[in-house]
Amino acid sequence: MESLEQIKARIEAAVPGASIEIVQNASPSKQDSLLIDNHHARDVATFLRIDPTLRLDFCSNVTGVDWLDRTVKKTVKVKKVVDGQEKEVAETTEKKIPGYLEVVYHLYSMTRKHGPVIIRMRTADRAESACVHSLTAVWRSAEFQEREIFDLYGVRFEGHPDLRRILMWDEFEDYPMRKDFREPDDYEYEPTPHDDVLEKARRHYAPRPSEEELKPSQDGRNKSEILQRLATQDDNLK
């Protein structure tokens, strides 16, 4: 199969105005991907599918990624004149990147037996314009998976034939796979809580009093005080 650079050059030649960017993957898998701009997504996808050398006729899966607002720190060494002398000073600049949602498609070719080619699209933000072009018209197998991303991440797919929630019910309002999703506060007792669950357990159930606390003090008030405190906490939960 061609390299991503070659594919990128050929797309740009075939689809005028399309801006393609190669997103590097630093992990050992080295699965770099093509970032496609939303306006030309349909044309680019159609090209990838019908191009005789690529023939990416199989969309294996569609995934969503949630990126929160983040700040990227960059340290650049700059030559500056300080007190009449030229010195090299490290200058740190902070860049704020607003959050966005990403949709990733894994494409293979059944006829040419190659792949995957990974393409991704980004929404403008995580709220009103969380919107990309649906590629269901190009790969029919994307229909349910785009619906799933709509359900769990809240990405709206323009031109999707039937954009409804697929796993959660229609009345549901949240997007559970987003990083800032807050699940309903319905913790119930578990015998062996740990990690996050332990945190929830502490919030809902008073911790077991230590042996030291339970030892009767001289006036015998200690124990009854603790039991009183626990009883009021239990009542608050009801």
């Binding site: 796993l167 959660m168 699940e183 309903p184 239990d234 939960l237």
Partner: protein, 207 residues
């Protein structure tokens, strides 16, 4: 044993070829040996339930082989598998549509407590939040032997039901509800998240 007849007299009569029984025993004996389950499964536990119904384990030995596809004809609901919050209202509705007397076996870790999905946002933490459960089977999934054991426990339970008196069987007691409210789909969770008349979340009891 039947009320109103001496046990030794009964044994003596039986030796002479006269079998004495009570209405209650006969009624319970008939019911416990013909329990028709509702034919539905929710997840991997359903595969074990199918194995239990098939030839190797053969639930027909206990009178439970007639799986009915309609709740109107079923006596027993085997909740076999994960109950998602999206599925829970339909399960309660099916239970409501079953005719009395009706029984529920919660099969597997998910059906009794939510199992490995207990801390998730989309799985009900046990079907006993909305409907009364007669027998709970732990396991992930429980083996067919465990389901047969639960079935026999249910038979034992039916055998002990009273026809009269203060603690008579629920289906004969007009004060006991036979239908339970179906939860609605809320904005963030089911509404209500549990039926407090059926279920109370566990509280720590201290001495």
């Amino acid at each position: 044993m039947s009320e109103g007849i001496d046990d030794s007299l009964r044994r003596e009569l039986q030796r002479q070829g006269v079998w004495v029984t009570s209405m209650q025993e006969l009624y319970n004996w008939g019911r416990k040996n013909s329990i028709w389950p509702l034919q539905f499964g929710l997840a991997c536990c359903a595969i074990e339930m199918i194995a239990t119904a098939a030839s190797r384990y053969d639930i027909a030995r206990f009178g439970g082989e007639v799986f009915r596809p309609s709740p109107r004809q079923a006596d027993l609901m085997i909740v076999a598998g994960t109950v998602t919050k999206k599925m829970a209202p339909q399960i309660v509705r099916l239970y409501n549509q079953m005719a009395d007397p009706k029984y529920v076996i919660a099969m597997g870790a998910c059906a009794i407590s939510g199992g490995p999905f207990k801390q998730g946002y989309n799985v009900l933490k046990g079907i006993d939040r909305y409907i009364p459960v007669d027998v709970y089977i732990p396991g992930c999934p429980p083996r067919p032997e465990a389901l047969l054991h639960a079935f026999m426990e249910l038979q034992r339970k039916i055998d002990e039901q009273k026809l009269r008196g203060a603690n008579k069987a629920a289906h004969l007691n007009s004060e006991q509800p036979s239908e339970f409210p179906v939860p609605a789909f809320g904005k963030h969770d089911l509404d209500p998240p549990l039926n407090s008349k059926v279920f109370r979340p566990p509280a720590i009891e201290r001495p």
